[in-house]
Structures are given as C-alpha cells and as structure tokens.
Symmetry: C2
Subunit: 258 residues, 2 copies
C-alpha cells in the first residue's frame, strides 16, 4: 500500500459533513466510493478537519493508503472522473509512509463570510451568513486581536469534543469589509461581505463559529470591544455568543512540515 496526501475542495451544502455515516451523503463516503472504483484497495480516508454539515472546504487535507499502479496525478484525474460535481480533488501527492492528516497537521486556516446587508442575496444563501444590521467591522477586528497568541480557548469550544488540551495558538485573526467589488464589476452594491480569516496551530470543536458569533455581538454594538477577551479569560462557553451557522465557514488550508 502506498501513502497519499490529497487536497480536496467541496461545497458543503448538500453533504452531511465529512464523516462517513450509514445511508448518508458525506464527503468521506463519496471520496471512498470513488477510491474503491479506481484503486485495487484502499484504507479509510482521514481528513485533517472533520467539517460539519454545510461547511465548505477549499483546501481540506486527506491522508490514505491505497494499492494502485497509477501515479499520483493520474490517480487524481481518475478520482475526479468518479466524484460528484460538488467536490473535487485539487492535488494528489505521494506522502511519506505513516503520514496522517490529523496527527501531522501543524496548523489550519479558515475563512468565515458574512453577507452584511438588509436583504438576503439569493446567490449567496448557501455561502454566507446574512446579517441585516450593519456591523462595526473595525470594532470586531480590534476585539479579535485579544484572541491572537497562545491561549486556553475552552470558552470558545462547543460541547461534544474530545480534545484533551484546550490550549491553542492563534497566529492571525483578521476581519475586513469587502464592500468594494473588483473594478470591473458594476457597483450595484451586491457584494456586501464581511470576511474573517483565522489561522491557528489547531482549533477546538466549533471554535471558529463560536469566535464569529461572539465578535458579531461586538459588531452589532451589543457588547463592548473587550468582551471577547473576557470570554477567553473566563473560559466558560455559556458566556460566549451564539455559534455562527455552518454555511459561512470555509476550510482554506492545512499546513504541514513537509
């Protein structure tokens, strides 16, 4: 069996998340079904992030073992020919024996997209969280800086996780308004997006969505700028804001040492 690293992208809308579930349409299920058609045999596929239903990925990392005579890029093309249209294998690389997408991940980067406009955008309904009230993005960004660095993030962790340590290091956390469509676009104001990007050595369960839900309270003016830092210091999930909905979340990238 040879060891491979796959980089995959998917529209999470019509999947019940990454994890295989009997009789359900999941990313893992679709990938393993395609793998069964193109390789002699294969192990289970392991993803760096077990994304929930509705969560999207542009650069999910997957490790697996497979018995095949295909070279890596041919394997990628063969998989794509057997995958549904809402997912794609972007890259296949031969990996060192023993490579494991969870154990060897050194960090991840996520994006969260908010459609900040009074009316829903029918073209963004699967891909952004609509918030009608104008958000104070500068305050959200300022508040977020208290979360950068090594901290105990248990206050931003949802129940149902098995992580032993809740210490994580956030390397970067930025929130910007992307109102300005590219120069070529008709400025019809349809692109009223607030975009958050966050990179850390690892994330607790629902950590990004809990951070977003908490920062949005600041953006709405319901909580002061120092509140997200207080939630962090208190370490109590019940103090934090709501969990932002899954469909605004994108796994952008997983980092490895090699």
């Amino acid at each position: 069996m040879r060891c491979f690293r796959l980089t995959i992208a998917y529209d999470g809308t019509d999947f019940l998340g990454w994890q295989w579930q009997p009789g359900q349409r999941t990313v893992q299920g679709a990938l393993e079904a395609a793998l069964a058609r193109v390789a002699q045999s294969a192990s289970r596929a392991v993803a760096s992030s077990r994304t929930d239903a509705g969560v999207h990925a542009l650069g999910q990392a997957v490790s697996l073992l497979a018995e095949t005579r295909l070279d890596a890029s041919t394997l990628g093309r063969a998989l794509n020919a057997n995958l549904p249209r809402d997912m794609v294998v972007r890259k296949v690389e031969e990996a060192p024996s023993g490579f494991h997408a969870i154990e060897h991940a050194r960090g991840k980067r996520y994006r969260y997209v908010i459609h900040n406009a009074p009316l829903p955008d029918p073209l963004a309904r699967r891909y952004a969280w609509q918030i009608a009230q104008p958000l104070d993005v500068a305050s959200m960004h300022a508040a977020a800086q208290a979360l950068v660095g090594p901290h105990d993030f248990r206050g931003y962790q949802s129940a149902g996780s098995r992580r032993v340590s809740t210490l994580r290091t956030v390397r970067e956390l930025r929130i910007v308004r992307c109102d300005m469509p590219p120069e070529s676009f008709d400025g019809a104001g349809e692109a009223r997006r607030v975009v958050l990007e966050v990179e850390a050595d690892g994330f607790l369960y629902n950590m990004v969505r809990n951070i977003v839900g908490t920062l949005v309270e600041v953006g709405r003016g319901k909580r002061p700028v120092q509140w997200p830092a207080e939630v962090l210091a208190a370490g109590d999930r019940r103090l934090a804001g709501m969990t932002a909905p899954p469909h605004g979340l994108y796994l952008l990238r997983v980092f490895f040492d090699f």
Copy 2:
C-alpha cells in the same frame, strides 16, 4: 389598479427561466404566486429580460399592476416573506401609469463569468463557465472593441427570436481577469475568474452568450483578434462561436429614463 416597478434578484439554477410555464418552476410563476397571496388582485408580471433557464439576475426589472393598500416598501417586504429563498425583491417603486418593463427599457447591462482554471471549482459550478485552457484575455478584450457602437448584430442572434430590427448599440464591452482575490483572502488561487461586462440599448436573443462563445475562441487562440468583427460584418450566425452556457450569465441592471 396601481402600477409598480420591481427590481428583483435570483439564482437561476433551479428555475426553468423567467417565463411562466404550466407545472414548471419559473421566476414569473413564483413571483405571481407570491403576489396573489399579498395583493387583492394583480396583472401578469412583465420582465425586461425573459432570462433562460440557469441565467441569474441581480437587477431584473418587472412591471405589474396590483390592487393593494400596501405602500411600495411594505409590498416588497410582504412579497419577500412569500418568495422562495433563491429569489428576492430588492426594491418596489410606484411607477407612472402605463409603465412597461420591456417597452420603456432604455438599456441593459449583463455580466458573464468564466472560471478559467484546469480544475472545476465545486463552489462555482452553478455560477461560472469552467474553461480549463488559459484564455488570452487581452486579445479577447481587444477583439470585443469592434462590437462597441451601433451595429447590426444579426450574426450574434440565435434562432427563435422575434425582434424586427437587429440593430443594437453596444455602449461598453469589457473583459478582465479577476485573478487577484481581495487583499484579505488567502491567495490560494481559487478565484481564477475572467469577467465580461456588456451594456447596450438592447440585446438580441442569446446575444451575450453568442458574443462570449465567439470571444472565447479568440481567447483560446483558435481564431484571430479580427474574427469577431468579421462575424459581425458577415451577419451570419453560423460563422460565430458556440453559445456560451447559461449559468455564467447575470442580468445586472435595466436602465429607464425615469
């Protein structure tokens, strides 16, 4: 009966186009069904552009007569509460009696989006035409300039149209590469878009999609830069390129004198 102008947006993917058809899901059908629930009575809805199945709209214009005591903005909210999530009424205005969305339109602006990358983007599969081969966008833009101005566009008209005159004035036609994602985005290269925008006093049937299909031949290097001008001069649809698929097309805006 009062006369109204509506500005509506929709994701065309799951509609069989604008035009009402028995037993089919169409934009006109959904709008008129919502109208029947919120107004005492109403006329048929007339759209400036009878978009085909799969074509999207950010600023479609609609005229209609309705008997209602609601003011314009309340009528808009009531309609939105009764519309499916893949369409939205952006604006309702009281219009001068006799206003007609087709007869009084003075121009329209469309956008066409191409995902120009070797691999399909699962998140763009409903919203952009994927072309794997790198396009020479500068040549496409240069070629397109021959179409700007008043011309007989019969060479770019698909069969099935009833327009009497095929003379139209293209006011602007731009094609740009939008490779650069906004500064806040991780430059993972996922936003490889080529965007065309075109504005004219009016369009023949499939005119934008035929222009795009023709310019793409130039972009692929299969035809010289002067070829789109030759198709225009010859006035023969059989000489032009393919009709680009509907799902990359967006009606951006309709212009009126008032």
